[in-house]
């Protein structure tokens, strides 16, 4: 059959693209789109509940189901509008009676299984964020090094990282949005655009909490850049604050008007173990988490001090290194895999532009994430089994049973999870040791050192 001339033209054009980014982007997109067939049904069920609540006119907090600050909820609102205006999905999910016993396992899973199309609808915006996040890392490395090879490497280290692929493609968590806006704010700050940097910083912190710890380092950077001109420093800080406040007010406007602003911060109390029925263990975990984050705040103040004292030539690099270290410190309190997403672009920058030795941390994080994501593969495959029949549901149930068989807690599921988590954690520890190993050695040998960020 003769080919259409348009098809030939398109093929020729596609074949003429030689930019190295194109190969990485195409490979990454293919992997992302394939992985998105899987889903952590526990979370996708919640996203479907949130969309239902929006559809029913209850906003984000009128009915039970959404426990975060509003940014991701608004993206789900956009997804809902798209579904209503352009698609005809039918049921978003079905309750699979045969799999209800999965819920009795104590793992975070559900037998309410969202459809493959629904899952793609919620994950495609996150995939776009992944692509932008990788591109921003590319831009950052290029800005700093003027080397397209290094910049392309950074792009690949982000876009092909299993932490990113799994967080978006399987869990469907918005950590990549937070990381993306965090990178926007850093780049725009380096480019001397404080208003936009402030806006993006607010978006980042209001998507997922971690970037808020970059407040002091970024402030120190502003004042250090204007050293000797306090008025200019104050002015830039005020402009950045104006951008951040403008965005925050706009984001929270519905909650302010409806008087349920506190619901937006429920995730803080949920994780603090302060419920009247929290047992001692839950309270201990909650208080330890608070203590850990107080220590991170302290570390961020120290980082800010170091950044402020940096010389003009090394100031940008100090900010980026300090930011990476602060994000890594946030994760010293054992993280869920998706939390690590905020570290990946800064680590990729550091590997490509500063110190390739940190590649071993990337590998450890990648391997750890891969293992953790495969732990619950039997439940991740549920949408494919239930809505397409490509996988047999009975086989999945057997898979689930096998993974949960064993004496007490010694199941394949638990053991694999611990192995994956330990590898992930060692990736963070190795990163900090790589960055500060030499200083630590001096300290241990009793010599003076100027540990800096």
């Amino acid at each position: 059959m003769p080919e259409s001339p348009y098809f030939v033209k398109i093929r020729r054009y596609a074949g003429s693209i030689r930019h190295p980014l194109a190969t990485v982007l195409a490979a990454g997109l293919a992997i992302h789109l394939l992985v998105m067939l899987l889903a952590m049904v526990y979370d996708s069920d919640y996203w479907a509940v949130v969309i239902r609540n929006i559809n029913a006119g209850e906003g984000l907090y009128g009915m039970e189901g959404y426990y975060y600050t509003p940014v991701w909820g608004y993206m789900l609102g956009l997804v809902s509008a798209f579904q209503n205006a352009c698609l005809s999905l039918g049921d978003s999910a079905v309750r699979v009676f045969e799999a209800i016993y999965f819920e009795a396992s104590g793992h975070q899973t559900t037998a309410t299984v969202t459809s493959v199309v629904f899952n793609y609808c919620t994950k495609v915006p996150l995939l776009m964020c992944d692509a932008v996040l990788a591109y921003l890392t590319y831009v950052l490395v290029y800005d700093m090094r003027r080397d397209r090879g290094k910049a392309t490497l950074a792009f690949a280290l982000v876009f092909l990282c299993p932490v990113i692929i799994g967080s978006t493609g399987i869990i469907g968590m918005p950590d990549t949005m937070a990381a993306m806006f965090m990178m926007f704010s850093l780049i725009l700050l380096l480019r001397n655009r404080p208003f936009f940097a402030g806006m993006c910083f607010a978006m980042a912190a209001l998507t997922k909490f971690f970037p808020v710890f970059l407040f002091f380092p970024m402030l120190a950077y502003l004042f250090s850049r204007n050293r000797g001109d306090l008025r200019a420093g104050c002015m830039q800080a005020a402009v950045a604050a104006a951008g951040a406040v403008a965005v925050a007010v706009a984001i929270f406007l519905p909650q302010i008007l409806e008087g349920d602003l506190s619901a937006s911060f429920q995730f803080i109390t949920d994780r603090a173990g302060t419920s009247p029925v929290s047992d001692i263990f839950a309270r201990l975990v909650g208080y330890t988490r608070i203590a850990a984050y107080l220590l991170v705040i302290l570390a961020s103040i120290l980082a800010a001090r170091f950044i402020y004292r940096s010389d003009r030539e090394g100031l940008d690099r100090s900010l980026l290194k300090g930011s990476m270290v602060i994000m890594a410190l946030c994760l010293l309190y054992p993280p869920a895999t998706q939390y690590i997403v905020v570290l990946v672009p800064l680590l990729a920058y550091y590997i490509a532009a500063e110190d390739g030795v940190c590649m071993r941390s990337w590998w450890l994080l990648a391997i750890g994430a891969f293992i953790v994501f495969t732990v619950s593969l039997s439940t991740h495959l549920l949408p494919l089994a239930v809505h397409t029949g490509i996988v047999d549901l009975g086989s999945l149930m057997h898979f689930f049973d096998l993974w949960n068989a064993g004496p007490g807690v010694l199941t394949i599921w638990n053991i694999t999870f611990v192995i994956g988590s330990v590898i992930q954690y060692s990736g963070i520890a190795v990163l900090l040791l790589t960055v500060y190993g030499a200083d630590l050695k001096k300290v241990l040998e009793g010599r003076r050192t100027g540990i800096g960020f």
């Binding site: 509940v49 239902r52 006119g57 956009l78 005809s88 049921d91 999910a93 037998a111």
Partner: protein, 346 residues
């Protein structure tokens, strides 16, 4: 480093604008949904409209002459947190499940509201006593929901001859959630445990309650009861903790169950009804409560037929033929994530 127009800044603004667009669609834009029916002798035609993309279900059933609840009073227990630990200590088997104060009460109201059931009032202990006294002569069509492990001693104090039980026998409907029915009551002296078989006070006979001292997860089951209603209403809560076994009683069970216990049990008591929702306070239970009450199910309901389909920015309809004497038609959209509902009676 900075140019006159910074592409990165432009991209950032575009993405922030996308979030704000989502904000508009979350709070500033409504999807219109409605349903209407036309009853005829032995048949009913319905129409469902949606300006969005939905799956609808039309559930036809017969209430067999039982009057459904059209006004619901939710008892908000102001002493819930104060006595919760004590109630746990005094419980023989499973401890009452915990919920967050007035929040869950509001959630029940919202769950009903989106399904078209608007006549909901929240009352305290005094309000409950007042309601029971004033409506005692004819409580038919009125429901009282107890979202607590205890009721005020002024309406029930651990015996069969009390305001609450008499009110039910006169035709009122009681909805009980997530604890052993009738085990505790409160008064000015504090929390009291009702001794003896408290189910007999309510049902007139001993009724087993699924509250052995097991892990909450052990009550989960995937076995459906009354599969017609369970599938038609997309019921989700699959735990039987504090559910009851209604063998030998007049009533129906819905949802999921095992060994006689079910996640939802509706029992005829005198001229009234008691409905027990098992399991903890969660989204699945909230949705089930919304579905059961908004659809106007009673202890005498019999499933007839389900019709379903897509309604996408359009209006669709259908017709049922039936021979029921007391038919009801509940139409809702969203499936397991119901976002609209309307109930019609011939």
């Amino acid at each position: 480093m900075s140019s006159k127009i910074d592409g990165i800044a432009v991209l950032a603004v575009v993405l922030i604008a996308a979030v704000f667009a989502g904000e508009y669609f979350t709070y500033g834009h409504d999807t219109d949904r409605s349903a209407s029916v036309s009853w005829d002798t032995g048949s009913v035609s319905y129409s469902v409209d949606s300006s969005g993309s939905d799956e609808y279900r039309a559930v036809l059933f017969d209430n067999g002459g039982y009057t459904p609840v059209d006004t619901l009073y939710i008892y908000a227990d102001g002493t819930y947190d104060r006595y919760y630990s004590q109630a746990c200590e005094l419980s023989d088997g499973a401890e009452p499940l915990y919920m967050e104060g007035d929040y869950y009460v509001e959630q029940v109201r919202e769950s009903l509201k989106i399904r078209g059931f608007d006549d909901v009032c929240i009352i305290d202990g005094e309000g409950l006593e007042d309601l029971l006294r004033t409506t005692m002569p004819s409580p038919s069509g009125i429901g009282v929901m107890v979202i607590s492990y205890a009721v005020p001693g002024s309406v029930y104090s651990g015996g069969p001859d009390c305001l609450l039980v008499n009110w039910i026998n006169n035709g009122g409907s009681l909805y009980w959630l997530s604890s052993e029915i009738g085990r505790f009551y409160t008064d000015g002296l504090g929390l009291h445990r009702a001794e003896g078989d408290c189910t007999a006070y309510f049902f007139g006979t001993s009724v087993p309650v699924d509250c052995s001292d097991g892990d909450s997860l052990s009550y989960i089951t995937g076995k459906t009861v009354n599969t017609g209603f369970t599938e038609a209403l997309c019921l989700k809560n699959s735990t039987t903790e504090f559910g009851i076994d209604i063998s030998g009683l007049s009533g129906i069970q819905l949802g999921f169950g095992e060994e006689g216990y079910a996640s939802i049990s509706m029992v005829s008591v005198g001229a009234g009804m008691i409905c027990v929702f098992a399991g903890g306070f969660d989204i699945d239970q909230l949705d089930d409560i919304g579905q059961v009450i908004a659809s106007k199910l009673t202890c005498g309901s019999t499933f007839i037929e389900l019709q379903r389909g897509k309604v996408t920015r359009d209006s669709v309809g259908g017709t049922f033929s039936f021979s029921a004497s007391d038919p009801y038609l509940f139409i809702y959209t969203g499936g397991v994530y119901a976002n609209f509902g309307a109930c019609f009676h011939a």
